[in-house]
Symmetry: C2
Subunit: 332 residues, 2 copies
DNA sequence: GTGAAAGCGCTAACAA
DNA sequence: TTGTTAGCGCTTTCAC
């Protein structure tokens, strides 16, 4: 028995194929009676729409395009998990593009993903090229930027302020009694630079900012790099008594390096990480981190882009963050 | 200017549309001269094939379907990364299905992914339902099972032996002088059960296996669970002097719990993990683990499924594993 | 609110 | 080896 088509469903329901199509994708354009008949016929025949035919005829696909910098960074697997959750059971599927933190690559990939026109685009960060923004506007699809926040999104945006988060975290270190606070960062993408700016602001507001308190690299982040950067930091800034790390890989690496070198945490060195990826709360001592709503960002972005009920009514959603204060900054 | 179609390219090259189609997808069926002409015309017009039309006409898509148990488990993000690498630049794209460690769910998802017929299927493990195996055979697509090894794959297979890996790791603990070795496991899927079997074999071969040396749960693995299971293990098996952990989340969690309780690693307790996910080598002390070729499994599976040059010529590829011996099992 | 006709761009099957 | 013909299943457009 071949797969039933719209024509088969129409025959079963006593209507034409096009009416079935309408009943399925824009029920409000069809009378109540017909809708019911069609629904029964669909169930009876086990009809499943053919996406290719639909896409070919309309030049619109049912994909939600998701552009993220990296597959291996747990930050984005969390976000993707949230999107996946929200799309589950809907008629949309997700198509993922990995930009490797490169706007040009992002533009290239997106160009290829924009044909046929997807049902929506979720894209990380604010730093799209002019070309990319133009393509997105021309495509006329809903676009949700994620991870960051801005008063002037391309279309919609959901995220939080990295400057503020870093500033609050740094202030937490200051409030905990640390006097000489350093910054450790890897993969210095625009959001990382904002965290650095927030750090600098908090330090400047409470005294003098010295350049030697910053140790950063553009390499991808990992645990070992935390150790390496701590070495760098303590040699250029020996009086350092606390570090704010760009992310949790680094903060964990810093803690391990302290254990190796016999540096007492939190007494001799306070540590604060970023994103709170799950291990920070388990280490000994546990590490203070900035808890960010990664999964929720994904979920909301998906809801906004498909215009689901329950989606926020405003195009700008600032989800904020919380400081999870733990042992690594609890000076006695 | 509208997007060029096969007809446009054909006109430019002075041939028919179908010839262009053939020149593009099976060059060997077309004369050398024509192929060159077509190639020039394609470049000149910037022709890009329309996937939907192709899929609709042939009922075959250019997707490689990848079925994995979980999005959040780093084991699978590594594998996916390998597949993504291998597919990059080819004409194939990947379509990912998350089964949540459930064969019925796997069957359900796969059924929906098999229409239109994909170009290939990569599927985790050996434990497909009969229905699933049947569907896969009927579909007539190349199938590569991954993560495990078996003499009788559905079609092709690339992985390693979990029993042997666990047996070797346990033997390493025995050789390191540990006498009372326990097993800690979470997410006891079939591969985990094989690791447990390998553990039991090594223990039995060297003395007597006692049931109380095993502490497992079916909950998803995480760092905290390592601590919880260590508690369970040491209360039911107080003489325990080493643990083999199902995976690295748990082994890290065990180490942290030892630090909390003042248990000296490796002297009072030896620890060995599984998969070597990157943090094991960084902890203090560093943790011995079984290094498994996750990325390589992904790369090879993709190469095999698309029949790429450079793919192994045999349908069964055992990639093996290595024991990365570190401080956590180096008893003085 | 509903339907008929005309493709979307490609490939299978057959013909030359 | 190359071309012709006839759809794939759906949506668009336009008519009623």
């Amino acid at each position: 028995m071949p797969k039933p088509t719209l024509v088969d469903v129409g025959r079963e329901a006593g209507v034409s194929a096009i009416t079935v199509s309408r009943a399925l994708r824009s029920p409000e354009k069809v009378s109540e009676a017909l809708r019911a008949k069609v629904e029964i016929a669909v169930k009876k025949l086990g009809y499943v729409p053919n996406q290719s035919a639909s896409t070919l005829a309309s030049n619109k696909s049912s994909s939600i395009v998701v552009m993220v910098p990296s597959i291996s960074n747990n930050v984005f697997t969390d976000v993707l998990g949230g999107i996946s959750d929200a799309l589950h059971g809907s008629r949309f599927n997700m198509q993922i593009g990995y930009t490797n933190y490169d706007s040009q690559e992002e533009e290239r990939i997106l160009r290829s993903f924009l044909n046929p026109t997807p049902s929506g685009v979720i894209i990380s960060g604010l730093e799209q090229t002019d070309e990319t923004r133009q393509m997105l506007e021309n495509a006329g699809v809903p676009v949700v930027q994620i991870m960051d926040i801005s008063p002037k999104p391309i279309d919609m945006i959901v995220g939080f302020s990295h400057d503020q988060a870093a500033e609050t975290a740094t202030q937490h270190l200051i409030d905990s009694g640390y006097k000489n606070i350093g910054f450790i960062g890897a993969q210095m993408d625009p959001r990382s630079l904002k965290r650095l700016a927030g750090f600098k602001k908090a330090i400047s507001d409470n005294g003098e900012l010295r350049e030697q308190c910053i140790a950063v690299t553009n390499k991808p982040s990992n645990v070992r790099l935390g150790a390496t950067l701590l070495d760098k930091l303590t040699s250029q800034f020996p009086e350092c008594d606390a570090v704010f790390c760009n992310n949790d890989d680094l903060s964990v690496g810093v803690l391990f390096e302290c254990q190796r070198r016999g540096i007492k945490v939190p007494d001799e060195l306070g540590i604060c990480g970023f994103n709170d990826l799950g291990i920070s709360s388990e280490t000994v001592p546990s590490i203070t981190s900035v808890t960010t709503p990664l999964r929720e960002i994904g979920r909301l972005a998906a809801a906004m882009v498909i215009g689901e009920e329950g989606a926020p009514s405003t195009p700008i959603v600032d989800l904020s963050y919380t400081i999870s204060a733990r042992e690594s900054t609890k000076r006695v």
